[in-house]
């Protein structure tokens, strides 16, 4: 598929708040995103910027103390038509068919994503059987217990597990971290989703394994023609895997556009900070320079631009009072910063 413009997932004005004992936490503050079929959208941001919350919202996996804004829309464009995930009842069949069917998800902690008391195969086959109808439409084959097992073994083999016939009957604790993440990918992809959400899938792994897993994911994505929503706080990973990216800060998207353009010429001061923090081969002697300052507590979001407390180009009187709106920079890019808005000109 030519990097087609076919929309797959469209998030509009997604806002998520948590009620906590300390007050209201505004974790995601009205973000809009699109993911296209067969493409990877990277979301990058520091810890606590709301990346996980936003993606959990797409799967409707938020805990009971979370609330979606009234106007939040999470539109999934399927062949059968468009569906608003945000509006589905929490325990509906529709929602269950999406989870693990149209949308697969892998998590940051490969150890914790498997239950320790069932074999890898058990947890895999369960998902395949749960989505029998979906798989029948996708592959033209209706699985029973036997053939689901064979399918699971093929998937384990596909993600590069040695000796999958043995592995399938092993327990998670018998696999190494990298193997477990491969198994998790196999579980998520065994139902052939059209969208894979990967929440920092490589963060817990060591560097060589990280690279292997990334390669594997890229390969599988092309093979299966699925879209990916790839979350990370590592600019290097984004550069490698995502055609488009969005930079999140304190629950807002501050910059978005084609990855290549943004990396070559970042607009938002925060994006520039993140890129400067990236160790490069040609500047290996330079020390890692993280964006200076601390992220404000989400309980007390700063007025105006959320980043102004740490911004090297902070304009007093403007940035700390007025929330910058998205400014179109052309070629699919936009930035939310007063340096680029009408207010600056």
């Amino acid at each position: 598929m030519a990097a087609g413009d076919a929309l797959l997932l469209e998030i509009r004005d997604l806002g998520v708040s948590f009620t906590t004992d300390d007050g209201m936490v505004r974790a995601v503050d009205g973000i809009s995103l699109v993911a296209r079929r067969g493409c990877t959208l990277g979301i990058v941001g520091e810890s606590g910027s709301g990346k996980s919350v936003a993606t959990k919202a797409v799967m409707r996996l938020l805990p009971a103390n979370a609330r979606l804004d009234e106007g939040s829309r999470i539109l999934l464009h399927r062949e059968e038509g468009e569906i608003d995930i945000a509006a589905l009842p929490a325990r509906s069949r529709e929602l269950r068919r999406l989870r693990g069917g149209d949308i697969g998800m892998i998590f940051q902690e490969p150890m914790a994503s498997f239950s320790p008391v069932y074999t890898v195969g058990n947890q895999m086959i369960e998902a395949i059987l749960e989505h029998r109808d979906h798989l029948e439409r996708r592959l033209g084959e209706r699985f029973d217990r036997r053939s689901a097992r064979e399918h699971a073994i093929r998937m384990l083999e596909r993600v590069g597990m040695s000796n999958p016939r043995l592995r399938i009957d092993q327990y998670p604790h018998e696999l190494s971290g990298g193997m477990r993440q491969r198994a998790m990918i196999a579980v998520a992809l065994s139902t052939h989703p059209s969208l894979l959400i990967a929440d920092e899938p490589t963060t817990a792994l060591d560097v060589t394994i990280q690279a292997q897993i990334l390669d594997l994911m890229l390969e599988l994505q092309q093979e299966l023609g699925m879209a990916m929503l790839f979350i990370t706080h590592d600019m290097g990973v984004i550069a490698r895997i995502a055609e488009e990216m969005a930079v999140m800060y304190l629950g807002r998207i501050v910059e978005r556009g084609p990855t290549r353009e943004i990396i070559r010429e970042p607009a938002h001061p925060y994006t520039r900070g993140l890129l400067a923090a990236l160790p490069r081969l040609d500047t290996a002697r330079r020390r890692l320079t993280p964006v200076p300052g601390d992220i404000p507590s989400p309980l007390q979001r700063p007025a105006g631009c959320p980043f102004h407390t740490r911004c090297p180009r902070h304009m007093p009187g403007l940035c700390d009072r007025i929330l910058p709106q998205d400014t179109d920079l052309g070629s699919g890019r936009s930035v939310a910063c007063h340096l680029f808005g009408e207010a600056a000109s």
């Binding site: 799967m59 998590f107 008391v117 947890q123 369960e126 579980v187």
Partner: protein, 331 residues
């Protein structure tokens, strides 16, 4: 698995060997022996004067004059080879005959109490964890603290009072009067169950309160684990997610404390049995110590510990079946 079973079984036998030695030492501990006691009981007030030689004769008659290790070997040999726990001096029959029915009743009460405890605490604990901080959860917490705070004998008395006052029936003893002497029949069996139900409730009360909180706490922990979300993200129905994943792990601590619960029940049983006039072992144990009827005491101690050791064995095996992370080969 077989190796694991054999290992644990051997462990059980070794434990019982040491227990038997300890029990025998306990049997030897009280000052004086049954010969003195027997002479006193038989001849006091009859005007017959008892001499040292008479007592010596009695001692010989009961075999109390032989060295301790010899008596231990005879005793344990009888138990192992013939399941014969020795004589009962006080009742002038065998210890087996004295203990007989009471042992059965004690085991039935124990198993009934454990079943009741787990049937109540596991589902309720899981429910409370799912409805954390709801009215139902707070209510259950209050009830279970009450369960821990109210002493068993008081609960037994209250239940006795209520049943006599409002239902006109006695729940004390084993049978209603009309069945006391009747031959065994279905009706008599049902009557027995009715009588055992209340003591089982009394005994299960505090254990249920405790286990309910354990299950609730473990379940709350497990519910927050990533694998639960991962299961949801695979599209499983919510009930299946809950039952197959966190609930399965939430019962582990309960299983691992079966032996502990059995122990508690044994130590609470005598008081409850006393209040409800049930013929069980604990009460007999105290009596036999008072009478220096040491073979009966020894038999009871041995049986109670054997049951607890066996319960621990069962809990080990079940736990190993429930949790594959427990290495089946290791010790």
């Amino acid at each position: 698995m077989l190796r694991f079973l054999v290992q644990r079984a051997i462990g059980m036998v070794v434990t019982m060997f040491f227990v038997s030695i300890m029990v025998f030492v306990i049997m030897e501990l009280p000052p004086g022996d049954y010969a003195d006691r027997y002479a006193f009981r038989k001849f006091s007030g009859t005007g017959v004067s008892v001499t040292e030689t008479d007592i010596e004769g009695i001692r010989k008659q009961f075999g109390l004059d032989r060295p301790a290790w010899e008596r231990y070997l005879t005793w344990i040999g009888g138990i192992v080879t013939r399941f014969d726990f020795g004589p009962s001096f006080a009742f002038e029959t065998s210890a087996n005959a004295v203990i007989g029915q009471r042992a059965g009743l004690t085991v039935v009460l124990l198993v009934g109490t454990l079943l009741l405890t787990y049937l109540l605490s596991i589902p309720i604990g899981i429910y409370a964890a799912l409805r954390r901080q709801s009215l139902a959860d707070y209510g259950l917490t209050v009830v279970s603290y009450l369960g821990l705070a109210i002493p068993n004998f008081m609960l037994a008395l209250i239940l006795l009072y209520v049943s006599v006052r409002y239902f006109g029936s006695t729940i004390g003893g084993l049978f209603s009067p009309e069945f006391e002497q009747a031959p065994w029949s279905w009706a008599k069996f049902v009557d027995l169950l009715k009588h055992l139900f209340v003591p089982a409730v009394v005994l299960a009360w505090s254990a249920t309160a405790l286990q309910l909180q354990t299950v609730r706490a473990t379940m709350s922990d497990e519910l927050n684990k990533l694998y639960v979300d991962a299961a949801r993200a695979r599209g499983l129905p919510e009930w299946k997610v809950i039952i197959k994943y966190p609930a399965r792990l939430a019962i582990n601590p309960v299983v691992s404390t079966v032996g502990f619960d059995a122990n508690r029940i044994f130590s609470e049983l005598p008081i409850v049995a006393l209040v409800m006039s049930l013929p069980e072992l604990g009460e007999l144990l105290i009596k036999s110590f008072l009478d220096l009827d040491m073979y009966v005491a020894g038999a009871i101690l041995l049986m109670l510990t054997a049951i607890i050791v066996f319960m621990n064995f069962v809990s080990d095996v079940v736990l190993a079946l429930l949790d594959p992370r427990i290495k089946l080969e290791g010790g």
